[in-house]
Amino acid sequence: MPANGNIQLDENGRLRHFLSIEGLDQAILTEILDTAQSFTSVADRTIKKVPILRGITVANLFFEASTRTRSTFELAEQRLSADILSLNVDTSATVKGESLLDTLQNLEAMQIDMFVIRHQDSGSAYFFAQHVRPGVSVLNAGDGQHEHPTQAMLDMYTIRHYKKDFSGLRVAIVGDILHSRVARSQIHALNLLNTAEIRVIAPRTLLPVATESLGVSVYEDLERGLKDVDVVIMLRLQKERMRGALLPSEKEYFRKYGLSQERLQRAKPDAIVMHPGPANRGVEIESSVMDGSQSVILQQVSFGISVRMAVMSMIVRQSGLQSGSET
């Protein structure tokens, strides 16, 4: 049995799957960040490759559209020398009526060692991890409205890169918390890393009930919520997920919750602005802020590669699958 009853850890508390930030501890999160740091230099080499995943086959299974998560996962896999199979399951087997588990098992029969999966159902990552063969690992690339743990870790990496230590930080997460798997993962990660204060800022219709139970303080007013924060994380207003009457209009949303230069003044002068992307300019964030000096949005994307390399290398180290090469 895993150390704390959570299947993503093995009996020694090491990472077997990467399904959610919830259920992990500070030591593992710090290890991911440190490992990621050691990988940043790989990108600067002429040959951007290390052989950690040599001989290992990774399947990227995306049941939902994705641009940056999927491409940074693929780049991370390539830089670790893995063999890669990428499937848009949306357009293949499942539309023919094949069950999820059949799709998974057919791929397993192709000796896949690691699955990177995005699926529209909350809990799907746990479902897959419960049903893969022993020794096969699952990485959650976003499951419904539950978690998106690699995104949260690259955000943590970005924060640590610019702010060094979490213990004195005030972090504000702004926007559609209700539908956001990114926000859930970020909140768990920020809490595990002992962030001084986590604020979520959103209109009530975009806040799940009992949001405070996640360990955050809730603001419905953006200007009050931004006061003296060190980090502002803007969330995408996921228009496609809106089911009627959550908001009056994009215009009113921008008026009340859009991040403008003027509003950003309320944060600390050296505050950084983040966004998991893809951003809607003029809806949740003003173009001048997105492209401005406090924005670290593009850096987030490039950190995403080393963070994903770190998670995969830790899993492979745990599993003993490692191809016997030096790290």
Binding site: E22, S122, G144, R181
Partner: protein, 425 residues
Amino acid sequence: MSLHIKNGLLIETAGSTQRQADLYLQDGKIVGIDKAPDDFQAAQTIDAAGRWVMPGLVDCQARLRDPGQPEKANIESETLAAIKNGITSLCLPPDTQPAIDNSATVELIHHRNEMFGHRAHVYPIGALTRGLGGEQLSNMASLRDNGCIAFSNAKIPLANNLVQRRAMDYAAGQQSMVIIQPLDHELLGNGCAHEGAISTRLGLPAIPEAAETAALAKDIELVAQTGARTHFGQLSCARSVDMIRRAKAKGLPISADCAIHQLFLTDHDIGYFDSNMFTIPPLRSESDRDALREGVADGTIDCLCSDHQPHEVDAKLKPYPSAEPGISGLDTLLPLALRLVEEEVLPLADLITRLTLNPATIMGLPGGKIEVGEIADLIIVDPETHWICQAANFVSKGKNTAFEGWDFRGSVTHTIIAAEIVYQL
């Protein structure tokens, strides 16, 4: 067939005392208590010393999936599960395939039960609207004449309040009861877990209490308007219990049940997305569970049912939100109910009333009491046996239990229907 059950402890329904007594059964009926009728000749005798003798359970909500979903269950498999678990009468909601909205389906169900069933009584509940479509009234009078005991639209919404009002009026005019599972489908949306800290943490689309209570408030108002005899099924919220209590105090002609699993499970049991915990209405909070228990204890909730929903393995072998809702409940109805006594929620006699006399009376069925002249639907229970709940040992075809590994006490040693032993351990 004549049967003598001797030395058993009679567990009679509320108001009477438990006592050791002999029962004499003949020609389908109870013909003597304590004392045999003059010319009684027992063809068979059961010594029930140290065991309980009680009325067979009347389950006011159980899906047998027949006709239409043989991959999940059928009348043969589920009536066997019923009798082995002490349930002698089953009320079947109309959402079979095809729906119970025509006499042919009613006859088919009765025919299959005669051919393949295991003697448990099955009582179809008719569709309130044609094809459960929510728009046109079903032929309620004909359906009632063919044996439908009440009318319901199961969990399928009616087109609008006007249809509901007219359906209730029409049913009342035909002296038929309406069964409603209060559920506002807009507030339900694609929800799959109780709206609270757990759904927030797991990112599961949430079902607020108002999905039940807003509908219930309207339903109660329509009862007040139409005077239609109405039974509310499978309540899940503390606020619903309160509303039923107040409506009863006003003298409205209503009754209510709740699924036995709601008295034991909460949204905490979802754990890391256990699809066996996915039910509609959802498992709610601890305070809801406690209020339901209180409602059962004080009689606000008249009956306990299994809300049996057997599924094939594949229906649950999916990520939580994509799995099909429902718990296979026939195998666990009685043992869970007995736990309520152990946990001092209510006395045994009251519990048995909620499982036998009350549902029988509300649904207008025979059974539910031990009296001379009554139908001899009885069970004998060994209260001392301990056993561990294992889906693999379920008699029901549906192995989708939420109680795997639970420790239970009490098991059925005999089930007697119409004075015949139909099951013996």
